[in-house]
Symmetry: C2
């Protein structure tokens, strides 16, 4: 059976304007690969209702899982939870269990659970909470959509909370070999190798360092012995 597939939706004007460099995509990609879930697509959209709803619709329909990052804080530009509720046509309101988490946290720290903070307890009907050990305000899963915070430390903690609950497949294995020749010199034999090992994914990632060209050849697949064999042939071809 093929591995489950996933998409990621990053929500945030600050990434599209170039102000902030996204860090969550790279983290999630690595975690999903280890867990045997294939990340097939990522989208980044702005903090706009229609853009978010459209992307949630499209990606949750096409893939087994959708992970979102960003837009679930207490400020006016945090509209992700409302958009996800709208995408599934369900009601959203403050929920008692989420409110209790926040109440205990703010009581503890001597802060007020004001109207803004209470927004973080608004959960779409039918969702389950995602634990947030960093800053308490929970994420949530509704249908196949996992809604998480954008702050990297919180995002990572939420991924750690939700991933063990998902059925993964075989972890994708990979080996790589660095070849210090230009891609143009290796492309022919490499293409032949890729054709012979069509059950594996063979990628060539060129680099340029101190004026010299080279390429990292990465061979990925689910059968370690096949990858070993392909790497051995590759090493022999370019020895």
């Amino acid at each position: 059976m093929p591995n489950p597939t996933a998409a990621m939706l990053v929500i945030g004007d600050e990434i599209l304007s170039g102000r902030t460099r996204d860090a969550n995509m790279h983290f999630l990609a690595g975690e999903l690969t280890k867990h045997g879930i294939t990340l097939a697509e990522v989208r980044v959209v702005s903090d706009q209702e229609q853009a978010i709803i459209h992307a949630v619709h499209a990606l949750s329909a096409e893939y087994d899982h959708l992970f979102t990052s960003g837009g679930i804080g207490p400020t006016h530009d945090d509209i992700t939870a409302d958009c996800v509720a709208a995408a599934f046509g369900v009601r959203i309101d403050v929920r008692d269990d989420a409110r209790a988490l926040l109440q205990a946290h703010y009581d503890n720290s001597g802060q007020e659970l004001n109207a803004a903070r209470l927004r973080m307890a608004r959960i779409p009907d039918g969702a389950t909470l995602i634990d947030n050990p960093v800053s308490v305000a929970p994420g949530f899963t509704i249908e196949n959509v996992h809604v998480m915070a954008g702050v990297p430390s919180v995002f990572q903690a939420m991924v750690a909370s939700v991933l063990p609950t998902l059925t993964g497949g075989a972890p994708l294995l990979s080996q790589s070999l660095r070849i210090d020749r230009g891609e143009g010199d290796i492309a022919g034999p490499l293409g032949d190798l890729a054709a012979r090992y069509s059950d594996l994914s063979i990628g060539s990632y060129p680099f340029q360092k101190n004026g010299a060209f080279g390429s990292n050849i990465v061979i990925r697949g689910f059968d370690g012995a096949r990858i070993d064999a392909a790497i051995a042939e590759l090493a022999e071809i370019f020895a």
Copy 2:
């Protein structure tokens, strides 16, 4: 008149598997913002024909410009040019001017313009070349799609070649103010401010440092005086 809009399509299994951290999105986002073009959406897809063609269709139809990154080298997994040609229903073949660029380059460096390298001279009918001062093999523009390399140094050089040829709008201006209070404390007054300055985009980007919460408030817009006014009010509110 509103600024032109753009999307970016990043093509590459290596980013989705978590092996490589994309660097081109952040660079392009910053350059477009300076040039007065609004980056509205980014997608990352794998090296698969249908995924690339579908994304090129959707994004070139929806936005004024589409910039692609990756998949135009000489190896078997470089299929972007063919997919873009297919998306527009045009023929693709080795073109004389592109071949001449490569021939001169490889003659110069004493290397052979072999079949693999010649693939980089395959250009869709009707496209114009994008200059590549780093490694010669050109990118190309067809309709509103700008096809560029994935290697960051080459991508950046190609962006520098193509951006001056595009009509930009007013550069998006921004100012930011760091507020050392949790978002929950500032969300109420901040939302009021955002409502009063609805011609500006006011974003709150929370952070956590040494256990303390704070947020960077970023105010963006096209009218510097309005941004000045909003920042002044913001500073006063949270003084």
